[in-house]
């Protein structure tokens, strides 16, 4: 009987310990999540700052100056080809001279 009682007490104690460990781990996990969340926010905010600094340092004049100091001929990048605008008449098929060819002049 005493052995049984001891066993019950030990099992109860062990269960309590496991629950305590589990609780502690849960708390630590919550703490870790909070910490990571904060790190993420801080990194986000650092990115915002860097984005602003990059924008401030990439003034068109400065870019042009940098290009001028580099060798070689530089040309603007032409806009991508686009279809010409169509009027309602053209869309309705009523235009005698539909003009929907690709524009490659840009």
């Amino acid at each position: 009987m005493f052995a049984k009682l001891l066993l019950i007490i030990l099992i109860t104690g062990a269960t309590a310990c496991i629950l305590l460990v589990n609780r502690q781990q849960r708390i630590e996990t919550a703490n870790e999540i909070a910490h990571i969340h904060r790190c993420l926010l801080e990194h986000d905010q650092a990115l915002w700052t860097m984005r602003n600094e990059v924008a401030a340092r990439c003034q068109p004049d400065e870019v042009r100056l940098a290009i001028a100091t580099l060798a070689g001929a530089w040309r603007p990048i032409p806009s991508p080809p686009r279809r010409d605008a169509r009027s309602a008449t053209q869309l309705a098929g009523g235009d005698p001279e539909p003009n929907n060819k690709l524009d490659l002049s840009g």
């Binding site: 401030a56 605008a85 009027s87």
Partner: protein, 587 residues
């Protein structure tokens, strides 16, 4: 044997008794524990209640306001986090030395800090610095001074300074837009701060975060404008030069991508000149440039001769005059209309063709053909190009312009409107209407944001004039540059088609016009065969002693803007022999 049995039985009874006692004691102990727990739960001691009450803390998560981007994704406006330094004087460890402690950490003046704290006796939130540098915020965190805190908040930055300030606008103290695009796109740009409620321990460490108690921060959406920063910088610089050169009251310029209807650049300058104040003022602009109204959409002006192409196009379409038809324009002052009204011209050429009327900007020729049109036809022409109603670009305070209504439309109106008088239009309406000639006769929808899909880029608009008339007007306007009032604005690179205008400045209180004060304007597009842009420049009240004709003052500005913009866009020059021939003719 019997004795042993008795002993064993006695021992067993004792063990059973002890077991019962231990079990009873445990049950009693647990029972007492339960009673105590129940008591603490139901009627706790006040001190205990304070200690065991849920320790919940709330945190606000900053969300970022959306960025404003230009057509090529350059950042025009963005937000970063800054830290505000505050003090709670009631909980600082030593109120006498706190100012010195803070000053040592952030390298500031202790007297100034002390004055700030003493200025608000009893207050628990005293701001010492609204925007600390990063190193200062870091130093404050490390110093861990009691009663001293940091508060994160957003700060708006405009990385390109005042470029485009009038268009971009700005945000107020609460980080909400108070002008320009910042205000217009407030709903998209505005962020929603997050909130986090968590259980904490005595050391304020997070013990548990309930997922339902966390509302994540939602950043505002970025808005991409159709404005191109490089073009914007150039037109601001060029327009300012012109305004200063002619000591003008102000100037306005717009660059429109005539294919898509996107505004590439827009600029409005007011020159604080003494006698200009009586014409117009802008109190908002006096506070900050970004708070001024955008006169490109809010303030109509009389377009003068730049309005002639619209009437010319419709009259030609209606066959009220043929391009080569010779009209009885006078050789000497002055032409009188059928109602006896005198129409003056700056030069008298004698009978000329309908085409030449537009090239040489002859008022009498326009009046002759306007009298052949019915009132409805002329009113229809004005309405067709979108005058008298808002463009729908969405910019705040847009004016529909001033167009005489049918009831008041008389003979004077019939002969005034074709030469750009008795009508007022906004620069935005003008570039939109003029782009009809640069397209296939269709009126574009004006966009201030970049189109993200092809459907957005090419919304279907109604046909204003037939494509062949649009092309014809372009050719005649090209002759304006070669043989007319635009000769001084010739480009060596591109074949520009354009029209100049010089209108008298109306008196602010009504009662006619100033005799010697003008509004000079010039509107043009290029390249001739496949137009990409339309540019308008308006110079308000230039100093007459330095010049006042649109072709001479605003023409070169438009030319420079077209040259710069098309080169920047990578459009191949198309002037070549055309320019050489026109120069030879001019010689």
């Amino acid at each position: 044997m019997r004795h042993e049995d008795q002993l064993r039985s006695h021992q067993s009874d004792r063990a059973t008794a002890w077991t019962k006692l231990v079990v009873f004691a445990m049950i009693a102990g647990f029972g007492l524990l339960l009673v105590r727990v129940g008591q603490m739960k139901l009627r706790p001691d006040p001190q205990l209640a304070r200690a065991v009450s849920p320790r919940l803390s709330s945190l606000s998560e900053l969300a970022k306001r959306g960025d404003l981007l230009d057509a090529r994704h350059r950042v025009l406006a963005t937000s970063t986090v800054a830290y505000r330094l505050f003090v709670d004087p009631t909980v600082v460890s030593d109120a006498q030395t706190i100012a010195v402690d803070i000053a040592e950490v952030i390298d500031a003046d202790p007297v100034e800090i002390d004055q700030k704290i003493l200025a608000w006796p009893g207050r628990r939130y005293v701001v010492i610095d609204h925007e600390l540098d990063d190193w200062q915020a870091q130093a404050i965190r490390q110093a861990d001074l009691s009663g001293v805190g940091l508060q994160a908040h957003l700060v708006r930055h405009y990385p390109h300074g005042e470029t485009g300030a009038g268009v971009i606008g700005m945000v107020g103290f609460e980080q909400t837009g108070v002008g320009g695009m910042e205000h217009l796109f407030e709903a998209s740009l505005a962020p929603r701060d997050g909130r986090l409620t968590y259980l904490r321990d005595a050391n304020r460490r997070a013990l548990w975060i309930d997922p339902e108690a966390h509302r994540p921060a939602e950043d505002g959406r970025d808005v991409q404008l159709s404005i191109d920063l490089v073009i914007q910088q150039f037109i601001e610089q060029r327009l300012e030069e012109a305004v200063n050169e002619f000591n003008a009251g102000g100037g306005r310029a717009i660059v429109l991508d005539c294919r898509t209807g996107e505004i590439r650049a827009m600029c409005d300058i007011l020159n604080p000149r003494p006698d200009w104040d009586e014409i117009t003022t802008d109190p908002g602009r006096d506070i900050h440039r970004a708070l001024g109204r955008n006169r490109c959409v809010t303030d109509p002006y009389e377009p003068g001769s730049t309005f002639k192409p619209f009437v010319w196009a419709v009259a030609t379409e209606l066959s009220r005059a043929q391009p080569e038809e010779i009209l009885p324009t006078p050789s000497a002052p002055a032409y009188r209309t059928s109602q006896g009204r005198r129409i003056r011209d700056s030069h008298y050429h004698g009978p000329v063709s309908w085409r030449t009327v537009l090239i040489k900007s002859i008022n009498s020729g326009m009046a002759i053909v306007a009298e052949r049109m019915t009132t409805n036809e002329l009113q229809g022409a004005v309405a067709r190009f979108g005058f008298g109603r808002k463009t729908g670009c969405g910019l705040p305070g847009e004016s529909p312009g001033l167009v005489t209504n049918s009831a008041n439309w008389n003979h004077y109106t019939q002969t005034s409107v074709p030469v750009g008088h008795e009508i007022a239009v906004t620069p935005m309406q003008m570039v939109r209407a003029f782009s009809v000639f640069a397209r296939d006769g269709t009126l574009p929808a004006i966009r201030i944001t970049a189109a993200t899909t092809e459907d957005e880029t090419y919304p279907v608009r109604h046909q204003v004039i037939p494509p062949q008339i649009a092309k014809l007007v372009r050719e005649v306007l090209r002759d304006v540059m070669l043989h007319g009032t635009g000769r001084r604005a010739q480009s060596e690179r591109y074949r520009i088609f354009a029209k100049s205008g010089t209108a008298q400045l109306p008196k602010p209180q009504g009662g006619g016009y100033f005799e010697d004060r003008y509004v000079s304007s010039f509107i043009g597009g290029a390249p001739l065969d496949d137009p990409r842009i339309v540019v308008l420049c308006v110079i308000d009240d230039p100093d007459k002693s330095r010049g006042h004709y649109g072709g001479a003052i605003t023409g070169p500005v438009v030319r420079d803007i077209i040259d710069y913009t098309l080169t920047y866009l990578g459009v191949e020059p198309d002037a070549g022999d055309d320019h050489d021939a026109s120069m030879a003719a001019a010689d």
